[in-house]
Symmetry: C2
Subunit: 231 residues, 2 copies
């Protein structure tokens, strides 16, 4: 068997939002000659924010280089922003990559590692403003590319994001074949997918439910910003 042409690593951390990772994994895994690597500190099963457990395939320590690194988001991202093993790994692996990427609040982790300073980037709508604390320029678009940084917005954006990355790596035809294989012809049942389009009452109730968690996330982002300033 010949070695794969493209090696894509995704960080699989406790309490991630699993669709931030599984959406892109489904897209990336359909590229020809690709190897997908699910990275964590150990090879024990990792529980997502709502309990589903996925197995890592490689430890940080055993990963020497990648073509793409991708950091998904989810509640556990708050702990990850202060996790030295993860930040160290991201700083070590990023220079080996063609693309340094994230989905959802994974961009805040890239930012905490100092990898988005001076870059345009996106994140989940609830927390995109926090990017500016980490030296990035927040851009409210679904997929944002600035040089070799490609970031996706919240959760389901990971599918649009990954099709964009595949087009960069393997061309538009391959990306379109994957879109057709995955029957990605979305028909959301409601107009409720962004604060711009959702009914105001739905936006208000969702913001209220998230408020205390977003405030906690902000405290951690502020601490990460201080550490970056002292580096």
């Amino acid at each position: 068997m010949s070695a794969p042409n493209t090696r894509i690593g995704l960080v699989l951390f406790p309490r991630l939002t699993q669709l931030d990772l599984t959406g892109p994994v489904e897209v990336f895994g359909r590229m020809p000659e690709v190897e997908i690597v699910l990275l964590w500190k150990t090879l024990e099963p990792v529980p997502s924010d709502r309990g589903m457990c996925i197995l890592p395939t490689c430890t940080f320590e055993d990963c020497e280089s990648l073509d793409v690194i991708c950091v998904p988001g989810g509640p556990g991202q708050v702990q990850l922003m202060e996790d030295e093993d993860t930040l160290h790994f991201l700083r070590r692996i990023a220079p080996t990559c063609k693309f340094v990427t994230s989905v959802c609040t994974g961009s805040l982790v890239l930012g905490a590692a100092g990898l988005l300073s001076g870059y345009r980037a996106t994140s989940h709508w609830s927390s995109i403003d926090q990017l500016s604390l980490l030296g990035a320029e927040p851009v409210s678009e679904r997929v944002v590319r600035d040089r070799n940084r490609i970031t996706g917005a919240g959760v389901t954006s990971g599918i649009d994001f990954a099709l964009t990355v595949v087009a960069e790596l393997a061309g538009a035809d391959v990306s379109q074949e994957i879109q057709l294989q995955m029957e990605y012809d979305p028909e959301p049942p409601y107009q409720a997918g962004s604060p711009r389009s959702a009914p105001p009452a739905i936006v208000t109730s969702t913001r209220e439910k998230l408020a205390s968690f977003i405030a906690r996330r902000r405290e951690v982002t502020e601490r990460a910003a201080k550490r970056l300033a002292n580096m």
Copy 2:
């Protein structure tokens, strides 16, 4: 802790297409008072068609009743259509459920279990015609409901499908809040998500790559149809 109001089970079988399951799991898991059960014969890690391993949470044997059963699709569905343990489980659990559901070619498994005879249903665009061999009426829509059967089309349809099921179980407001949480405001980079919209050359090349597998699937569907006729 109070018992959950809603118990949703998804069949987690070897060589499934993981996004057929992980998309709906992400949506369902955000319902209030819900329990998600990932069902297989054992609790060992189950590998998807492209290798990602997920842990089941409950065996068929230990599952007595559910509010919703959902069968995802993927290449392993071909083996599943002739797997007596699975077909027996589906026939036993379906009468306990408010909704009997599938994503992608999971509908062919429901059909092989005799659970779609006389129902309108959908499946992945490549294989939807095979539903008629199993007594169902194929409908080329993204989400199809007929009485208490709700079926989704290929892979990414599982997200639209699951938001539809949540609206049935918990109301439109809950479904819209989940859509907003997941920032499900899709912007596919190409018009290539269905054979109706994709460039003809992309449709042709994708069909050619799938042809031998689809033929093998058809042989198994034909055998399943014969067994159904003799029941």
